[in-house]
Symmetry: C2
Subunit: 491 residues, 2 copies
């Protein structure tokens, strides 16, 4: 069925683009850089949201909602932040259209110019810290542990569905703390939450690490990241958690009276993951036949296809299938019985492979007689006959197996894509010939980092958490280095 | 504890504004007309969302996501729609800021002007029908039953928290059908879903009806509405469902091949409810002591306050409370044990009254000895002692009672606020002295409707579904009328 898609080996990028559209996940829209998330893609995103939201709440966070628009002047208040975010953004300048006096259609009403332009939020630190100013006066008001699910906008020049779009959906946590230690612990805790979500639910293995100064979020003192490895050897930053120090509190004059009755600036974190995770999910597991979804996030976990010639056969099969469906639903499994008469089984098999449904049951007359069913796994594309007795428990186990298997497969691949190198020649050779993470000594300077990026397009993805110290020399400058860091070309 | 709030009788509008802020539901933001929805308010909205989303899915709908921005030219494609929505909206004209060459801060980069201005969606019919064009070619592609949860923006001149804000959160369903009958049935079905949600979950009684031509959604052939009655005698439109005919299909050239192999325009509906429902919820049930929440939507359904003097006492109470909490949670009840040592019981009682927690348990040493607990209802402000044996089942029943009671109370009030009148003088007198719905004959013309509105500020809220036909004369024009309609002043 691979004929539907360009193969990964032929053109990985084209494979991805085709897959996103053909599996009905998303498509481009009439608005440059903005996507339409189609129902099937959105159903996966909803499952991600639900799980993440549960994890945020279990760690003590609450949801809130802050304005879409940010006064232009707010962006200038934090010096680094404005450099990072004020440049490419959607600017609202007017609040009214009028009928075109010279013809058809509507034009901007020149008299409805805003006194101060408003920016569509690229991220919400500024508007949120301007709000927190009124919420915080004493240590008793702290911590504030808010999250918001929202759309944001960054005017990207080159966009790709899910991976980089002008508008995207995300969550952004913004927390306020009385001490540096507490804020740092929060930023690290949320990195752990993201890593657990990626590995346990998305089945995407990630490296947890800290960004170099150059790759930090604009306005952060430390940016923690989870980095995933795609099948084409490029890294993908899947989530970040920032320790913001007192930068935003100072920019927005947010002080509190501490237990010692002294005025102090508030400590902050922010952390976010976005619909970009959809890109990571798709690229980590899928194959030339289509999507491969982890059972934990698949909108439909099991599809049942009847194999029959005559209407009476379908009737007998349906009666049995309804029993199976009821049993599976009782186990909390989402199951679809596709008895559409207009499509042939072969077409359905291909369709559900393309859509990444983890388990497919095919059942015909012969199976009814034998009290069995053909069970196909999407991850391995293997089939086996199973008895209908205890099929519900067998499927529960199978879904667990698939979840574990695709994680292990991805982890094995990822582990094999971390290459230790000691010279710049080797570094460049590995990047060009193999790809993946290159684990190499670096002198710790932004200058070296930028030169390497310029010459090879590889960036420092992170310094892994718990990275062993090791004396060495920088592959680029030959200067002394205390540890290796992970470089990669990336999305 | 009423001292915290202006009373309703003193100044209803001020009571509402104070309540929204003091109960931590929402507040104004630095951006004109845009609100911050605070965690407690958002928790209620989340419960509404969850329930509505379940009801949409049970009726066969799926979620999707469409772009925030709409090309200006799209708005002009549907003639009535542009009149209704193109006028007061946020217009994006540029995509970049730059450092101000003359000083500090940032300014709009004049070179980053967009070729075509983009509008922040006031509603999404245009961008969605432009998308559906590519999804629909045959009757086999129909129906499409999509919903989206999103933020929208309408540049309102006078705003009030939840009731009318420039940015608000909502859901908008957009469906496409092969026949007129099916689309009309869908629009009516969603009205029923909204009415069921309002009455069963929000405990807000509503009148289901159809709008007069003048009050229709811009671009609709019929607008169905649910209308609620607030405690100040003003009506509030709580949700609308539109039968759009083929207007948007024609505007965006969306045709399909029907079963008879003929090209035909697609039939459409759209339907939405918004954070305005929060306003309806607050104003329907709350009193001078604060919020009154229906148990179905209360983030915390039961709060437990320990009454003690010494630390040992608290220890003994806590041990018992932990048992109660476990029992209540096992019944699916959300419960909070407030053992904060910094606040006195009286302060806590007032606080949870203000926040509308449906049930409060107070438990002290004496109660432990008697194996009982003091149970206070927020709706009636009454207290009683209850045995701790079977307390979980008693609370389940109590929550059901409260849910039913506040609905019945609101319904009784609302029913009493429908006044039949036969003359224009009586009409004006009822509006001024009593308020509420005025049920009167109308000649069916927009002209009369607008004159009445001009003179009395009352509009036709709806023609109720199943309204009895009855010969009469229009209260304004004296012309013949076939039925009475519901007028009211409204939010």
């Amino acid at each position: 069925m691979g004929k539907f898609l360009t193969s990964r080996s032929e053109n990985y990028s084209q494979w991805y683009n085709e897959l996103v559209v053909k599996a009905d996940l998303a498509e481009t829209s009439a608005v440059r850089g903005c996507m339409v998330i189609k129902p099937y893609g959105y159903a996966i995103w909803e499952k991600m949201q639900r799980q993440l939201d549960n994890m945020f709440k279990e760690t003590g966070h609450v949801n809130a909602y802050f304005p879409l628009l940010i006064p232009k002047s707010f962006l200038s208040k934090e010096a680094e932040h404005v450099e990072g975010f004020a440049k490419e953004c959607a600017v609202v300048t007017h609040h009214r259209l009028m009928n075109d006096p010279n013809g058809k259609g509507v034009v901007v009403d020149p008299e409805a110019r805003l006194e101060e332009e408003l920016i569509i939020r690229p991220t919400s630190e500024t508007i949120i810290w301007n709000t927190y100013k009124n919420w915080i006066s004493s240590y008793r008001d702290l911590p504030i542990l808010c999250n918001q699910w929202a759309n944001v906008m960054r005017w990207e020049m080159r966009t790709r569905l899910f991976l980089r779009t002008a508008e995207f959906l995300w969550q952004e946590g913004h927390t306020a703390h009385a001490t540096r230690e507490e804020a740092e612990a929060e930023a690290k805790k949320m990195l752990e939450v993201y890593a657990e979500f990626a590995e346990k639910y998305m089945a995407v293995p990630v490296v947890k690490g800290v960004k170099s100064a150059n790759e930090r979020f604009a306005g952060a003192l430390d940016t923690y990241t989870i980095e995933a490895m795609m099948q084409d050897g490029k890294a993908l930053q899947a989530g970040t958690s920032h320790f913001l120090g007192q930068n935003f509190a100072k920019a927005f004059e947010v002080q509190f009276v501490n237990k010692e009755n002294q005025l102090e600036y508030v400590w902050a974190t922010s952390w976010g993951v976005s619909t970009r995770l959809m890109g990571a999910l798709i690229m980590t597991h899928s194959d030339d036949n289509g999507l491969v979804l982890p059972p934990c996030l698949a909108p439909t976990q099991v599809v049942i296809v009847p194999i029959y010639k005559k209407a009476e056969e379908l009737e007998a099969i349906s009666a049995k299938v309804n029993e199976i469906v009821a049993k599976l639903k009782a186990k909390g499994i989402s199951v679809k019985f596709d008895d559409n008469d207009q499509k042939k089984p072969g077409w359905k098999f291909a369709e559900y492979e393309l859509k990444g449904v983890p388990v497919r049951l095919a059942i015909g007359n012969r199976d009814l007689e034998n009290n069995s069913v053909e069970v196909a796994r999407r991850d391995t594309l293997t089939k086996e006959q199973m008895s209908l007795d205890g099929i519900d428990e067998a499927i529960v186990k199978l879904l667990d197996d698939i979840q574990a298997n695709i994680f292990n497969k991805a982890k094995e691949y990822r582990d094999g894509m971390i290459t230790k190198v000691d010279t710049y020649d080797e570094f460049k050779r590995v990047l060009d010939e193999k790809g993946g993470f290159v684990y190499a000594h670096w002198d710790g300077t932004t200058e070296t980092e930028e030169k390497i990026k310029e010459e090879t397009k590889a960036t420092i993805r992170c310094i892994p958490i718990g990275n062993p110290l090791e004396d060495g020399v920088c592959i680029y400058s030959g200067k002394p280095s205390k540890q290796r860091v992970l470089f990669a070309r990336s999305y």
